[in-house]
Symmetry: D2
Subunit: 336 residues, 4 copies
């Protein structure tokens, strides 16, 4: 049994990680931590005011990190479900202890110091770890993940955006002179579990935000190797991301070419489901670890549809998938 620590376990992704790990046959949860200032410190994760759905499943206490420093050398795996700047600050400590770190924040996703200054508002101090970090887009980087110490689990939008596009780019089917237009709608959980007027029940309604300025745009462009126009939206639902990607294919590309490209990369991948017919709806993936992909082609216009649960394939499930790959377990262990 490998021992895993979840840092930032009281948030939505953290609680979901705890749920997955609690069912995992090869993992033992060594601890769940919250910030020392958190009002949740000392409570059970399954407290009736926290995550009561986990009652009987993960009745472990949320404790400050200090409670675990004495046993840090016994911990094999650390999941960071923390704010970007917190991950940035604490990841090196765990890495230096020899832990394998899965960071769900954006702190190690793009190997560019300027990127953090511009989009995350802090100066990145750990170029060495940026160089070593592997981007955990599981279906594409599994070979690197197997040997990585620091896995930067992709953002929710970037996962939904890249999975449908990468096979087409890899196969040279896209007309890369025209930037793909990515419109995506995320559930409210994407903004985290912190109270704010923006996620007040009565204030939420479908709307676009972060036009031309969302930090996931450069993350997508970097790992895709292709500029894109990315417009995020908030939808009035709890979980899920629906992405509609309009792009242009090269002259002569057919529906069969698209389908062949998607199948080439995903037919044997258990957590990406390609639709031969129809287009996926959000409900197909809510609560499940999949990314579902469909498309339609007319002349040289291609529309790709992808859906995922932002907290699962877009966060916790992909983190566990990366862990499974890293340690040689079956890729879907504890996920389905």
């Amino acid at each position: 049994m490998l021992k895993a620590l979840i840092v930032g376990a009281s948030g939505y992704a953290g609680a979901q990680l705890a749920f997955y790990l609690s069912k995992h046959p090869h993992i033992e949860i060594a601890g769940l931590t919250v910030s020392e200032k958190s009002a949740d410190a000392g409570k059970l994760l399954s407290d009736f005011e926290l995550h009561p759905q986990l009652k009987g499943l993960v009745d472990l206490p949320l404790l400050p990190m200090a409670d675990y420093t004495a046993i840090i050398q016994d911990i094999d795996i650390v999941f960071l479900a923390t704010e970007h700047s917190v991950s940035h600050d604490i990841a090196p400590y765990f890495l230096e202890q020899g832990c394998i770190v899965f960071d769900l924040s954006g702190a190690f996703r793009v190997n560019s110091l300027g990127f953090y200054t511009e989009f995350y508002g802090f100066n990145h101090q750990h170029q060495t770890w940026l160089d070593k970090a592997v981007y955990g887009l599981a279906e594409w980087n599994d070979k690197l993940i197997k040997h990585a110490q620091l896995i930067a689990v992709p953002g929710c939008y970037p996962t939904a955006a890249q999975l449908p596009l990468k096979p087409l780019i890899a196969e040279g089917l896209l007309d890369d002179t025209q930037w793909p237009v990515i419109n995506a709608v995320s559930g409210v959980s994407g903004a985290g579990r912190k109270a704010s007027l923006k996620n007040h029940f009565c204030e939420v309604s479908l709307h676009a935000y972060g036009l031309f300025s969302h930090r996931h745009q450069p993350e997508i462009a970097t790992h895709l190797g292709q500029e894109v126009i990315f417009t995020p939206h908030l939808g009035s639902f709890k979980q899920g991301i629906h992405a509609t990607i309009t792009c242009r294919v090269k002259d002569g590309v057919t529906t069969d070419d698209i389908l062949a490209a998607l199948n080439k990369y995903y037919a044997h991948k258990p957590l990406v489901r390609v639709y031969q017919q129809g287009w996926p709806a959000l409900k197909s993936v809510v609560g499940l670890p999949y990314c579902d992909i469909g498309f339609a082609l007319k002349d040289r216009h291609l529309i790709l549809i992808s859906v995922e649960d932002n907290l699962l394939k877009g966060a916790a499930a992909q983190a566990v998938q990366c862990m499974n790959i890293r340690f040689g377990f079956d890729e879907t262990t504890s996920l389905i």
Copy 2:
């Protein structure tokens, strides 16, 4: 034209009041105030981050109360859409200036000093105004409202609970040895526009709260003259209250008796709609100023169903209705 000031205009009830008053042929909005510390001070009520639905309808600024003190003698009417303790503190000032005050908070609803200490957490200082305040349950207290200077607009739950029960009590149809069981479900707007984890979009789901301890229970019991068991619930919708009231009638009471009692008091009241058949659903009243009432009787068991929009008949619309009654306008002016 009468001049009206809305204190606490940035909340849900306050904004709705502003909308109603902006359409009222006999009212001019003299000002909209917010707390001096509010980040909204200086913005338009219709600002895109506040109440953009009012753009073009109520493009007035939110200003601290201090901006209006110089003109207070010109103001005829004050609506207090403020926290209970704030209403308590400031109502006397306006009253002493001769304004007619419609208070949407609970600060003057029950003439009992102990009630405020126990249920609202402050010691009430204004017994004189408590004595003079008229409880603004519009269909029942219109004669008193016509001559009142301080109208305490009822709470949302108490309106939905009392309107169906009062005719039956007035006609002596209820077996008063058995307490009516009032289960009511409110939309999230009932908790106000302040960010908190309780109204986080992802945290809201149907649940009971305040069992045996909600402040609306004694308000209902006081004005009904009948003890009740009141259990409030939060529902996953923005606006509306649905109340299910289970009670016991006296031996021999028939369906016709119930219907006759409801019609006796409401057939000529424009904002209470009695169903001869079927039961009202929440959608019947959302966005509208009505309270709809239906019922079913079996043996001596009576179930009353009432629905209203908590922000309208349960707050802003009833306040305007009281104002219309107070000044002799048609009761529904600007409401439908």
Copy 3:
């Protein structure tokens, strides 16, 4: 008082029309009709199983058309809130009687017989009326509407799509070699009040549909004079449309140019609201007759956001707006 008949009054748009007309100072509702086979025939529109929200507001019966044939010569105005093929079949009858007809269906929106065969599945028989029909995009065709006998009220998506684009095209700001990408999400009411698995509460979740094949694409392209890529989506909400339009401007076009174009055409139009700052959210317009427009420009990429209530500015409100224009009433009479 002008006498108006609403054909197909039991649907969502029809009921909304009845509500608006009931408040209109210059209109008398002459009748509400439903199909002779309808189970609703004989019921009140405000029946508790139909539109109980209208109880006390529009307590008129739904009757078969045959009940009105004797008085058809007294009817001035007919609203057709009917299926496309039904509008096609019956509009000429009313037109020949001299009625002014506002058709909310798609039967007379595009002057091309082939369009109906391909996208609506029937062969259009009334070329003469197609030639005479005026497309009721109110802000753009008011001069024509004033003298029209047959007004084809635009579809919900086409209204949301065209209003932001038309000023830019009119001012020559768009790079028309690149087709605008229109992604729009509609509430479920857009599919009408007929029970089907597609609008079953538990089946609805955000998803794209009608890729490259929705009938509103050619309607948009025709009246815009510009090809577009239009992708409709169903969202899990009752009312509203949110459109995100990604397009390319000509070299040198600035934010001020865009704003100036929008203001040139809409600053004096009461039902289109242009945002100088921020982007509109769906909640800004639900229940209201507006179309709200915002935008962002970066380099030559322009994103336009428009929102409207699909049943109001996208259907019933625009129909009433057209009627107000046609008869010289204030454009917003009974709407706000």
Copy 4:
């Protein structure tokens, strides 16, 4: 491996059963059936228009029952997720073949022929099987379930209503002269997957229905041995039941007595979770197989709160739980 057939697999409970059984280590799905007239016959359960969430998980075809008659002697277990009258008609056939039958309909829940005539609208023909049927309230009837051939899985409301009340009745804590008042709100999935205006997305809003006439009232009363007042409501959510039960305890009963009674019966039951503090919310159980119970006592007034997922503990999960008990598997196998 035991072979199981699911009859009526295309509905919500049927699809959920298929999901649970697909993960069960001791069960092999022998077949999924739908009515011969069903348009779904021949499709995969995971078809994109049916239950696409099951793609890759249960890619089995839906076939008419006739396809399985040749292998019926090889089938060990039959789940009936069918209409009440269909279960009534076909259950004896499977029972006579020696199958163990878990019926999710109401056809065998109450041993009274008159009950079916009055509440289900058909004359029950199988008194013998009614006599042999065991009511599958798993926490209470496990000893009988172990030896039963026909298990009548309880209704969703009856499960939520009985689980909190039975311990108090068993311990003699309730004042049985006063009928418990059970108000419950169910998600829309409770009405099944058939399109109707009642479950149209735009028609659903919180409302009471079936006052004094719902078939679950006599089911509850029969198995509780206590008359009750039961008022069902439809809520605007997909899955879940929230029940609020107001009752009267005997003189002298304390909070500790209530808690002790609940713990006595449930402390060792894995699928009932008793709250020592706070009250459960719907979100605690949606997607999970639990029934959560909380309460509050004041004087002799007791309010019990229970929540469950109507499709899981209220249907499919309890059916699998019964199967696990019947065959000696761990009670929660494949459920958590």
